[in-house]
Symmetry: C2
Subunit: 90 residues, 2 copies
Amino acid sequence: MQSVWEAVADPHRRKILSLLKGGEMSVSDIHAHFDFSGATLSHHLGKLKAAGLVVTRRKGQQIIYGVHMSVFEEAAQTVSDLFRREEGSS
Amino acid sequence: MQSVWEAVADPHRRKILSLLKGGEMSVSDIHAHFDFSGATLSHHLGKLKAAGLVVTRRKGQQIIYGVHMSVFEEAAQTVSDLFRREEGSS
DNA sequence: TAGACATTTAGATAATTCTCTAAATATTGA
DNA sequence: TCAATATTTAGAGAATTATCTAAATGTCTA
């Protein structure tokens, strides 16, 4: 599994996550927000999926992406751990 | 300025930040925790500095690195923004 | 001032990443 | 079943990154 840190290092992927936080979207819905090719989008979605940050389901011809909440919240914990100021260091 | 996201994408750099959260350290102090060359360490420190996450001062022959608290806390906000669940979405 | 120590810079290489086009796969509807 | 639509995979090229050794820079002490 790819690290969450690497997954969110790319601005396009952070934008995808922000979009998905607003609710599930199909690949073409997401694609409407970007200029690059579908193959490139697929590459980014693959990285997010490898990090476990998103989940997919099929709906007819479309694949619907959504944030994987449990992993997302774990990730929130991980990142806030790095950035939390040392405790008890008055 | 390099993005905080890219700066923390690398595990070595995250380890450096964790070390520095415990207090200021010289380059050689930091180096003692890693296996790679001094030049490589310098490269990583440069990235952290470009992101504004660390500050330096000279103390004789040594350069002392420390976390740049204001930028660090801004970064904490930035990352928690991405990972915060949508508000008011009951 | 010369030599030693600490760190950074320069220049090179290997690995990874982002992007593309073209082809493959999966599903739907006629 | 065929053609259209949606997405992913394959393969390749350009850019970036992590790493190294060697050289340069800055500071201290004898």
